[in-house]
Symmetry: C2
Subunit: 412 residues, 2 copies
């Protein structure tokens, strides 16, 4: 499962780039005192900012505030709570604004430079009280170390089984730059930013419009190609802040340096896609579907998403059953007009590769071999439509008893 | 859960209308000898025929043959096997044609009047041998009684837990007419004819074009509004045969009698939708979502399908958790441009009704009351968008451990 272009990973997550500190604390939004529920990310300087949000017509109050606060292209802090989505809840917008005010006071920056974000249950009123104590506590613990990033990554988790952090290093105009990320995912992950919170930091100097262009280019090929359960959440948010402290000349579009930045962003995004999909609720297997030979990019993306999203196929993967008919079936119900008659399907993992379908029909294979391949925790589904040159990837996970258990009684 | 218009149910399933006999036998497509795998339906006379098929670009060989054989608008027999879908399998088309020839010989009718249908595993070669013995055996057992219908209903089952039959009586031009049905469903059921086989018989006299118009009017509002797991199968087929033996004047569109026929067809279809959704793989609850107050019919249908199809909501129903936020979330990600701000949601069952969401926000309710309502096996989700007069229904089921178990190892 290789990335399009490889970059050297570095430690430190969102604190790997210069000029960022982070913290995570328990402030009482969650009743469970063992689980931190408030994360704070602060930049030393005002940063260029870019974001992508859920396409759900129902969306969290924080997203409205983010849109307002990023309208000028700049921000300096991100405040994230887990435990309550602040969506469809009375007084949600006022509360989101009040949390920005509290953050501004604690950090000595304008409230308009604070970006709030929430994840958790929908429709439950949220109290400002936990924030009143929690924000100063988080501000007091801000750390520009790897520990700071990890604390923040832990605080934004809901049903994730482990915190998700990553960072890479690259060079722009001779200057060493870094790009780091933390994320929370698990259930409700599906194309168009389903409950996924992703916060990216970089010390590259990138003007707001260029930063947004880069993010908007990368999101459709990466985060929108994840599906855990097909539900598009109300609160999904990707925010990218650029401090500029690496000292490179401000990036312009259509330059080699811009391409390098987009490649680094893609590498971090793909890494996080695998992390998020592999840690889907109850998942035991990461599924990566690569479609090649498609007539066009939308078809390549849609076909890979269809396969990753098929509950029948996901259940078959849980059972390590090489049921390629379900792959073909999912390809077949993908919207759009394209030819399926030259479709080839291969299943691959560390244990080997089996060629299961050729020209949309059975390609004889050893069930024993297939069982060995599918016993691995990371499975690649390689589909060649044989009808063009467009390609795309999508990420998902198997459907398990545990998913049903987690979601059958989430609120209690 | 009342139908739009009620009709007197009668016994006998597809053999309730005059002029139809049916049978079910075990012929060896399935290795399990306890489970019949071949059904035969024969009419005494050549019937007007109408059909709707899967929209999957991958579809079974029998569907190709059905299209050819129904091109003239008439047919006299339906041959259905379970255990193998005859899809993406080498020589499938030749095999489907050969089964029609065998049926024609056994029944003394033209092969072009036989409609084949298959359900089961995709991509596995199927042998003609079981059919060579099975078709004459089924022909010898044809019965115009309720037992004949039941035997056929049993033979078409895959993971269904019980056979599905229904019939109603109505009057056209003073003549008593009947409409009967058998169906198989369970997994893979989703809008656009996901693995659902449905065979309807009537003794009403209805010319082919009028019959197709009636079926095409009813399918979008009924069978295409079912979702068990979102997978659209390769073999879904609805076939309706009209013997004309009731002796009514041939039906014409835009007449009161046509409306009566469509209403009867709708009543049978809605009954079967509930049967199919309630018996979804591993299901413990039938979910019926009714959307009212929609700006238009496509929105009403799409919103009801979104809710029924949300795995998060389905898992919540399994856990009897009144997680109305997931209903709102699913409404919100329904494609299309419509206002959600006046949305009201109620959950209802035999045990009562709870009003959980008003104007897209929490409407205070008793969790105790909600738990009582959701403990029932049939749950209605009532959504009023408050934005118009269009309405639609959709049917589904909860998502359970058992679904994962059934589909994790279907082939073994």
């Amino acid at each position: 499962m290789s990335e399009t272009q490889t970059f050297a990973p570095v430690a430190g997550g969102i604190c790997a780039p210069q000029g960022f500190a982070a913290a995570g604390v328990h402030c009482g939004i969650r009743h469970n005192h063992e689980k931190p529920d408030l994360a704070l990310i602060k930049a030393d300087v005002r940063c260029a900012g870019a974001a992508c949000y859920t396409t759900n017509k129902v969306y969290g109050a924080p997203i409205t505030v983010d849109r307002e606060h990023l309208a000028d292209g700049y921000a300096q802090a991100i405040l994230v709570n887990s435990g309550n989505a602040n969506t469809c809840a009375p007084g949600g917008l006022e509360l989101a604004r009040a949390t920005c005010e509290l953050t501004a006071q604690a950090l000595g920056i304008p409230a308009a430079d604070v970006l709030p974000s929430s994840t958790g249950v929908i429709g439950q009123p949220m109290s400002l009280e936990p924030f009143a104590a929690g924000i100063p506590a988080a501000a007091a613990r801000l750390s520009a170390t790897a520990a700071g990033s990890s604390a923040a990554a832990t605080a934004i988790m809901t049903t994730d089984t482990h915190p998700k952090e990553y960072a890479v290093e690259f060079t722009l105009g001779g200057k060493t730059c870094r790009l780091g990320a933390i994320a929370k995912g698990s259930g409700m992950i599906h194309p168009n930013m389903a409950t996924m919170l992703l916060f990216l930091t970089t010390d590259a100097a990138v003007p707001p419009a260029v930063l947004q262009a880069a993010l908007s280019a990368v999101v459709p090929a990466t985060f929108n190609q994840i599906s855990v359960d097909g539900d598009t959440s109300t609160n999904d948010t990707v925010i990218l802040l650029a401090s500029g402290l690496a000292g490179n000349a401000p990036l312009a579009e259509n330059t080699p340096d811009y391409d390098t930045f987009v490649a680094a962003l893609t590498a971090v995004a793909e890494h996080m896609c695998r992390e998020l999909a592999g840690d889907g609720e109850g998942a035991t297997k990461l599924l990566e579907c690569t479609v090649t030979g498609a007539p066009d990019l939308p078809t390549a993306r849609a076909v890979s998403r269809s396969v990753i999203h098929s509950t029948l196929f996901k259940a078959a993967m849980f059972g390590a059953d090489a049921n390629w008919g379900r792959v073909l079936c999912a390809i077949g119900y993908t919207p759009g007009d394209f030819d399926i008659s030259r479709t080839a399907v291969r299943l691959k993992s560390k244990a080997g590769e089996v060629f299961v379908c050729e020209n949309a029909a059975l390609h004889p294979y050893s069930e024993e071999e297939a069982a060995k391949v599918l016993a691995e925790p990371e499975i690649e589904i390689l589909i060649d439509l044989g009808s063009g040159t467009a390609a795309a990837k999508a990420w998902g996970c198997d459907l398990t008893y545990e998913y049903v258990k987690i979601n059958g009684d989430y609120r209690t």
